[in-house]
């Protein structure tokens, strides 16, 4: 009957992978040393600070909701860092030499689209908080469902653009679609809060 414990292993593995890839990239590409060091430190630091701030709290329903949400976000952020780091290393090790012009760019776009698709699909899966004081659960739930659907449609369009659109138009078109989707979700949230 009680809610599941917030996941720990998955964010831990993903953050470890981010640190490892950043470290390798820093060694392989000394020109970008500071950027890779920042990538290496950012997530572990942010996660540690958040965990320490929440250490004294009771492990109640609200804590489980909050920590589940935070760790899920940490995992998503780690995946978003692992992909460009992985691509950087693939280029650095000359694994992408045989790919055609702009293919790296398209592959990155499609991968981001697919991640966004998974995120959008799963975003409405999280149950709304019963203890939130800002928005009543019914409104929050309506917003979460709407945002999930908008994100899935946006992600599908984003992926299709990066797959089929001429490369010169792909980036601006994908950005317009992405920002429109996010803006729509934000506007809907503001509309529901204002009611």
């Amino acid at each position: 009957m009680t809610a599941k414990k917030p996941m720990l292993m998955m964010p831990l593995m993903l953050v470890t992978a981010t640190v490892a890839l950043s470290a390798i990239a820093a060694i392989r590409e000394p020109d970008g040393l500071f950027a890779f060091l920042a990538a290496m430190i950012l997530l572990p630091l942010a996660w540690t600070v958040i965990e320490l701030r929440n250490r004294g709290r009771d492990h109640d329903e609200r804590w489980r909701d909050d920590m589940g949400s935070i760790r899920w976000s940490i995992s998503a952020a780690a995946v978003m860092m692992i992909i460009p780091l992985g691509m950087t290393l693939a280029i650095s090790y000359e694994l992408t030499e045989n790919l055609g012009d702009n293919l790296e760019q398209r592959v990155m776009g499609v991968i981001f689209g697919i991640i966004f698709l998974f995120y959008g699909n799963a975003s409405s899966k999280r149950p709304v908080s019963l203890t939130s004081t800002k928005t009543e659960p019914a409104r929050m739930q309506a917003h979460t469902r709407f945002a999930g659907r908008v994100f899935v449609i946006t992600a599908l369009a984003y992926t299709l653009i990066w797959t089929f659109a001429p490369i010169d138009y792909a980036l601006p078109a994908a950005m317009i679609i992405l920002f429109s989707g996010v803006a729509l979700a934000v506007l809907n949230m503001l509309r529901l809060r204002g009611k």
């Binding site: 009957m1 699909n121 899966k125 019963l130 659960p137 469902r145 659907r149 899935v152």
Partner: protein, 97 residues
């Protein structure tokens, strides 16, 4: 995924999910919407929990149910409603819960 299809194949469970799509509800509030026995309703809740489509949290003396549908599961629920899947399904106590 088969648990999701099983959960969505029953009209009563789909109606429960439809109610929960509007807002989180207590077990009593949901049960009041149906003309079925308490054990049957409990069995329906168990199938939905097993499929990870709802979350049950004890708040005080009542159990509050919250929906947990991904966009894909939400779409599947819509399809199941439109095409009226499992209209003549067994009651949950007859199923392999």
């Amino acid at each position: 995924m088969s648990q999701v299809f099983k959960a969505l194949s029953d009209p009563t469970r789909r109606r429960v999910l439809e109610l929960l799509r509007e807002k989180p509800m207590s077990a009593g509030e949901i049960a009041a919407e149906f003309d079925v026995s308490k054990p049957t309703m409990s069995a329906h809740f168990a199938v939905l929990r097993e499929a990870d489509l709802v979350d049950a949290t004890k708040v005080g003396k009542s159990v509050i149910y919250r929906i947990k549908l991904s966009v894909l599961e939400d779409a599947l629920l819509g399809f199941a409603q439109v095409f009226g899947l499992g209209q003549n399904d067994k009651t949950p106590d007859q199923e392999d819960v």
